[in-house]
Symmetry: C2
Subunit: 275 residues, 2 copies
Amino acid sequence: VVDAKEKLKGRLSLKDLLTAKRNAHISDIFIPQVDFVTVHTKGEEVARVMQKYDLEAIPVVDEMNRLVGRVTIDDIVDFIKEEAEKDYQMAAGISQDVEADDNVWQLTRARLPWLVLGLFGGLGSVYIMKGFDEALANFPILFFFTPLIAAMAGNVGVQSSAIIVQGLANDNIKGSLLNRLFKEVGLSLINGTALGLLVMLFGFVVGQEQMVSITVAVSMLSVIIVAALIGTFVPIILDKQGIDPAIATGPFITTSNDIFGIFLFFYLAKLILGF
Amino acid sequence: VVDAKEKLKGRLSLKDLLTAKRNAHISDIFIPQVDFVTVHTKGEEVARVMQKYDLEAIPVVDEMNRLVGRVTIDDIVDFIKEEAEKDYQMAAGISQDVEADDNVWQLTRARLPWLVLGLFGGLGSVYIMKGFDEALANFPILFFFTPLIAAMAGNVGVQSSAIIVQGLANDNIKGSLLNRLFKEVGLSLINGTALGLLVMLFGFVVGQEQMVSITVAVSMLSVIIVAALIGTFVPIILDKQGIDPAIATGPFITTSNDIFGIFLFFYLAKLILGF
């Protein structure tokens, strides 16, 4: 329902219209409350409002509050699906909207850039290990643990970032940053301690030098804490800067956490084992 | 519109009802064609049909074709969103539906199992490298490249599996398995060759022994092809077995591709460098 100047005033229920008296005016039977969005409202926000109130359509108004059209739920279904799929593809290291049946060139364009990023990350790790190659003499076994440390750093980072990215998309992150910090550190302490104990157990079973097991366990715990913090706060910072936080999941966070994790591992190993 | 036995016969348009003659019967004005689903139809299928035809509601019938109710689009919006979020969380290594504001124990239960899987994968890599430790004498640099090989295997596997999982969810994978095989191999040859050349270039710039660069490049190409095939066919096989293919993305595929990739790398290195 709009006034003479096309301004949105309310809505009309079909049931009220059918059951109204013959001589009733629209102004007598319309409902003066209505949800609406403006032409500048972001798609995510439209989707959120429509989902929250289970609306089948929502009016769209311009800056002057004049009705200019509507968004129906089936447009939003496609939008929600595309948004979720885009976040998922980003997390999987696919930078463009591609489908299984797209051609090889389209798929390459979407996939190769992230692999190149991963390559540079991997070459970065080569450099870090070259910097600690004095450890080869007495503790070559440390170099066997790098894929484990990298995998832990990557997995934890992706887990933390995925939860934050979904929370930001659904607008359901409450509590302060300090609160989040405590929660991620607590979570990491639990996970890291459990995994550290498993590493100690493994070392004991295979008869590994105890100081090496301790080094791996302590480093893993530290790497898990740092990776969780990076995974949590990078998307939050990106979001505050107006950048889609979804780019912080997947290869980007895995690659940076790999490098950082491997450096931290050898740095702590040097402190503990003193090579 | 149903018959005397409650069997679904068609639908009625509100416009037709309002504009029909006073003495018209429903049987004269109803539309005898109607999309419907049964009580056994899977949620994904309902979502697919409703999205495809932009339906706002769809009737539900039982085994005898009797109308028992309907599904409205707002139920489906929530369903589509949850499905997409579940796939995303699986890909990120989060095994239960959790949100950023859940407590530390809920988050730990969802996250720790995948980290333990990653830990076993990492310990598997330690074992593989112990098996090739004779390479330490002449080619210690090979051990610096394992995070790179593992990252490539993991990233490629996640990319391939994500595209297949989305394709299966949207039911838009056409073409035969052989066709998919050729496409993934073609894609991997392009990506692998591009990345291999970058590795050679890096080796040349830093003055690395040429045979080592060739070994890394060739191994990386092979690992990329194998990882793409695993990433493609594991979800297809799981789906055929009636298992949710989404479990094949994320830590599961990363971990298995890590182990396999590192083994393949050292195996090929042994063949090429002959240590």
